[in-house]
């Protein structure tokens, strides 16, 4: 037993080092890709900012679906909570962007706490349906509270003060994009630490076998709930970023459609690595944008064909290409949810 433990420790040591190296490379790649996007597509920064905001949402789903095995079709409830909290705060005079992101994170975390409490009561299909019911209730509430949220007309008139008092959020969207990119990188680094921590490991363990983890003496519910809160904060920041960069919050930000699209993006990219979330978002939204610009009338068929092709060719998601190329990154992924 002791030797076994030791050998595991020995085996773990080099992989720990290589994992840090790999993550450093991965994060550097995100930064490089982000800056390359800035210079390659200077005219599409609003689109790229939207990609980042949705990317945060997809990351937040990866936390609970990819790491905890809880599938959700209602994550936009958390995204929308962040967007509306930031939007309402902004209309009422809180115009500092960083504060608004913080407000979004708090609102998202609170919504995540609520959502987790309800969703963790069930499993499998029932859980999925609970998530749908919750996002529909949020949507309905946002529609009803039109005095605060603007209802279906949208919450307009968000006037932001310049970032650090210097950089305006303007037509060209440079401030919004770089701000979003910085936010994404910070969140990503933090999340990498979270999922590599003992807490993150515990979550993966629960995903594989909750009964066994329970038998080992850990309480499953609070661990998952904690992940829901973290996930909510990330989604809420995404929502706040969307609100800041668009200056309008619409009901679409708490919709089932957005939740479903985000889950599709995650599965497309591959679960449980955080990278897959970003790759899936960029591919899906980039593909959608390019195809719908070429032929605005029939892009849906193309997107559908892409999804089918991915399932047939790469059942593990797009990020499994990277796994095939880099064997050191080979880990179980895209498995059961």
């Amino acid at each position: 037993m002791q030797t076994l433990a030791q050998s595991e420790k020995l085996a773990a040591a080099p992989s720990l080092g290589s994992r840090f190296l790999r993550d450093a490379i991965g994060i550097a790649a995100i930064i490089v890709a982000g800056i390359a996007g800035y210079f390659l597509f200077p005219d599409n920064l609003a689109l790229l900012t939207r990609v980042i905001a949705v990317g945060l949402l997809v990351l937040s789903i990866d936390l609970i679906t990819g790491y905890c095995g809880v599938a959700t079709l209602g994550q936009a409830a958390l995204f929308g909570a962040g967007a509306y909290a930031a939007g309402i705060a902004c209309v009422n005079g809180v115009t500092e962007p960083l504060t608004l992101i913080l407000i979004g994170a708090i609102a998202g975390a609170a919504a995540g706490l609520l959502m987790g409490t309800i969703m963790l009561r069930a499993h499998g299909l029932a859980q999925l349906v609970l998530s749908i019911a919750i996002v529909q209730l949020f949507h309905e509430a946002a529609n009803k509270a039109s005095a605060y949220t603007g209802g279906s007309d949208g919450l307009a008139g968000l006037m932001l003060s310049p970032l650090f008092g210097m950089f305006e959020f303007d037509l060209w969207g440079q401030t919004a994009y770089l701000f979003g990119l910085a936010l994404l990188v910070v969140v990503f680094v933090v999340l990498k630490f979270v999922v590599a921590s003992p807490f993150g490991m515990l979550c993966r363990g629960i995903k594989e076998d909750p009964v066994r983890i329970g038998a080992m003496g850990a309480f499953v519910f609070p661990v998952l709930l904690k992940m829901f809160v973290i996930s909510g904060a990330v989604a809420g920041m995404g929502g706040a970023l969307a609100a800041i960069s668009t200056q309008v919050v619409g009901l679409d930000s708490v919709s089932f459609e957005l939740s479903a699209n985000a889950l599709v993006m995650l599965v497309l990219g591959g679960l449980g690595s955080l990278y897959g979330a970003l790759i899936g978002t960029v591919i899906f939204m980039g593909f959608e944008h390019v195809v719908s610009a070429i032929n605005p009338f029939h892009w849906m068929t193309m997107v559908g064909a892409l999804l089918i092709a991915v399932v047939l060719a790469l059942p593990g998601g797009l990020s499994s290409i990277a796994d095939a190329i880099l064997p050191s990154r080979g880990r179980t992924r895209g498995g059961k949810a």
Partner: protein, 287 residues
Amino acid sequence: MQTILSIGIDAFAYGMALFIICIGLSLTMGLMRVVNLAHGAFAMIAGYIASYVARDLGWGYGFAIILAVIGTIILSIPLERFLFRRIYGSSELTQVLMTIGITFCVIGITNYFFGPTLKTIPLPTGLSQPVDVGFRTIAAHRLFVMACGLVVAAGLWYVIERTAFGIKLRATVDNAAMADALGVKTQVVYAVSFALAIGLAAFGGVVGAEFLPIEPYYALRYMVTFLVVVSVGGAGSILGAVIACLVLGAVDTTGRYLMPDFGNFFFYAAVIAIVCVFPRGFFGKAQ
């Protein structure tokens, strides 16, 4: 009293319409373990065929139903052979990705060929008249839907519980490898059940078109409703699906009557409450 009866009859009709459309999905999810989000797409295809047959060719409602069911099953054979067969036994999320992809394609293609307008399936005069049932008038079509729902429920129950095929199907679901070893052709059982589920979707799409009108976005617009019904009933259970449809139909209809402004709140709050109390649905089997 009259009002309660009246609401009750509306709820029953709506619930039965939901039942006919959803039971096929319940079978695919419960018996074949495939989360088929493209279920609505098959119902929609049937609706288009029926509309073409009944409205453009003028061949009548009965023909429209039969041709729609047959046509949809034929169309689904290559899909089953080349796409669905790849995802039997895959993870749920892979199935979701694939079937959403299929749904998108079907929507895009129908939009291209048939245009984005609503398609109606003209009813025969006998069904389009309001009928006086004593305390109110009700569309004859609604009575027809109720009858169809009861027939489908009874028929399915008989097939699954009382026929040789039903025994093989249940055996395959419980333990495919063992059933195979005992000489059950599981591939055939799967193919037949898939065709049965698609046929039910097609039938439901046509018969329920008065409640859920046929248009290209049908499959996405009602996807949530279908999923909710199946999970509340418990995937694979006929009795569960019947009860779920009746309960949800009743909650929806009374909610919209008593407090229309908060109709959605009622509906989804009821869903949350039911799922929390019955995490596997009313009659779901333990996994």
